[in-house]
């Protein structure tokens, strides 16, 4: 096991930010840390990277306890903090060199490694700019580069794609997937698609408590998820007829031609909808999923 978190508890005053959380991550695994805002994701990461200590419980990384071997653990962990704090007055290259020095990398190795990283995260054209001149997407890349500079065994990424445009998100996700082949990656997010796209496993926490920890496919199967579809017809139709389909639990009319249809648990009503339309000679213009399985699981687990 690469990362073992056991019985972690952290209280801020009266409030329990993290409440008895235990999980473990194997090396080479990409794990998504999911939860609504304020669930305790960032707090857990801050503890695991040695920024703050827990009130109770332990974090063990690659066989080293974070409390006893803080400095050693920091050497093998890469961390992208929430909101990606950077020294804005520094130049990109200068900053990465500073981080390399903090990690005690060999001086002769600095240039090769920084060039490699700049290539890897796609900062080529920005390398001689000041960080404050860069847009959020590029700053995020610098954040990732600094977390990777010492080739860490374990990566903690706190909301790595927040504030990026869709193309950048695809790039960064691809990069994370690639990294996951040889490193242990724990990333936090509140975007389901992200976790579905890059993670093997999802850990869902809510109000400091662990509510689910399983492979993404298993989570989808295990929980009785219903799916909501958005459906649009070319002509006005009779909504009651849709309700009669036995795989459908609810129909909400958005307009005369547009409906939001919710399926019963573990069923797919799309072929039934198509058959019904054929019988009545309705023309379907569009069917799309409004809420994925994982999203509905997330809602079920975190709403009470």
């Amino acid at each position: 096991m690469s990362v073992i978190v056991s019985h972690l508890t952290k209280t801020y005053g009266e409030q329990k930010a993290v409440d008895d959380i235990s999980f473990s991550v194997d090396s080479g695994e990409v794990v998504g840390f999911l939860g609504p805002n304020g669930a305790g994701k960032s707090t857990t990461m801050k503890i695991a990277t040695g920024f703050i200590p827990p009130n109770n419980g332990t974090v063990n990384i690659e066989g080293l306890d974070i409390q006893d071997n803080t400095i050693e653990v920091k050497r093998i962990v890469g961390y992208l903090p929430e909101n990606n704090p950077l020294y804005l007055d520094m130049y990109v290259y200068e900053y990465l060199k500073f981080v390399a020095k903090l990690h005690g990398l060999k001086k002769t190795y600095h240039k090769t490694r920084i060039d490699q990283l700049i290539e890897m995260v796609g900062l080529g054209r920005e390398r001689h700019k000041k960080i404050e001149e860069l847009s959020k997407g590029y700053r995020q890349r610098i954040g990732l580069a600094q977390a990777l500079i010492h080739d860490p065994k374990v990566l903690f990424l706190d909301e790595p794609t927040s504030g990026l445009d869709p193309n950048q998100i695809v790039d960064i996700r691809k990069l994370i997937s690639d990294l996951g082949k040889e490193k242990t990656v724990v990333l936090s997010s509140h975007i389901m698609q992200e976790v579905e796209a890059v993670c093997n496993r999802a850990i869902i926490i809510n109000r400091g408590r662990l509510v689910a920890d399983d492979k993404v496919e298993n989570l989808k199967k295990k929980i009785q998820g219903s799916i909501t579809f958005h459906i649009e017809f070319a002509q006005a139709i009779d909504a009651d007829k849709i309700k009669e389909i036995n795989t459908i639990s609810a129909v909400k009319a958005v307009s005369q031609t547009v409906f939001e249809v919710t399926s019963k648990s573990n069923t797919d009503p799309r072929s039934d909808l198509f058959d019904l339309s054929k019988q009545n000679e309705w023309t379907i213009l569009e069917i799309r999923t409004l809420e994925s399985n994982l999203e509905s699981i997330f809602h079920q687990l975190t709403q009470n």
């Binding site: 801050k46 920024f51 703050i52 200590p53 007055d89």
Partner: protein, 242 residues
């Protein structure tokens, strides 16, 4: 640790702070030493530099907090403190690197005043008629005074994420320890204790070193205050763990 030290120095040099601090210090001390008739060496006609060592502590009382106020306050505000504290460096290394960087900048601003010494040396009648040993003592006193102010500034900066609060707090604490104890001891209620109270302040020790009398007790006093303040800073950094 050297990496952090160099980064701090670079950040001073790439912003206006360094040039502003050095410029303002030299301008003010220059005016007092050579231009203003009441304290001007040319006017009084004595070949000494007393007015520099009288005025410098008051200038530094405001300038040093202006240098040190950003040390930790800015890092706390922007969140880079989290970045720094999750890198494989210890809290002590961070504090000492920052302390030395800030002190270096202050020493940079003192260094050009050696030109004043040279000028007075040349103006003396006969040339070289100046108490060099006394001035060396005064410089040592001034450097220790700056070292104490810097440690106080660093401590104040670690207490808050607002730079202005850090500045005001540092000026207040520096003033208290520099002048406060001395003035307090002069109130006529302490009896014999007044000597001890006066010894708690910098003024007592600064004046005695300025006379050219380098006493180990005075040095011990300065070093103790510095260690106390830097330990206080470490304690505050640790408070995130409570």
């Amino acid at each position: 640790m050297i990496a952090i030290y160099l980064r701090e120095i670079n950040s001073f040099l790439s912003s206006l702070i360094a040039y502003l601090v050095i410029g303002v210090f030299l301008l003010i001390t220059g005016l007092f030493l050579w231009v203003f008739p009441q304290s001007s060496i040319l006017n009084t006609g004595f070949s000494n530099m007393d007015s520099l060592f009288v005025i410098a502590p008051y200038v530094f009382l405001f300038l040093i907090p202006a240098i040190t106020m950003r040390a930790f306050a800015e890092e706390k505000k922007s969140g880079t403190i989290e970045f720094l504290l999750t890198k494989p460096v210890s809290d002590y290394q961070i504090i000492i690197a920052k302390y030395l960087a800030n002190l270096t900048l202050v020493l940079f601003s003192i260094a050009p005043t050696l030109i004043y010494y040279y000028s007075v040396y040349q103006l003396g009648n006969p040339v070289g008629n100046i108490d060099s040993a006394g001035i060396a003592g005064s410089y040592i006193g001034l450097i220790f005074l700056c070292a104490v102010f810097t440690s106080i500034g660093l401590f104040a900066s670690s207490l808050t994420q607002n730079q202005i609060t850090a500045f005001v707090l540092a000026v207040f604490l520096s003033f208290l320890i520099f002048e406060g104890f001395q003035s307090l001891s002069e109130i006529n209620v302490w009896g014999k204790a007044s000597v001890i109270i006066s010894k708690l302040g910098i003024a007592h020790h600064y004046n005695s070193i300025s006379k050219g009398l380098i006493d180990s007790r005075d040095l011990l006093y300065f070093i103790s205050v510095i260690i106390l303040m830097l330990s206080g800073t470490k304690l505050i950094l640790d408070s995130r763990k409570w």
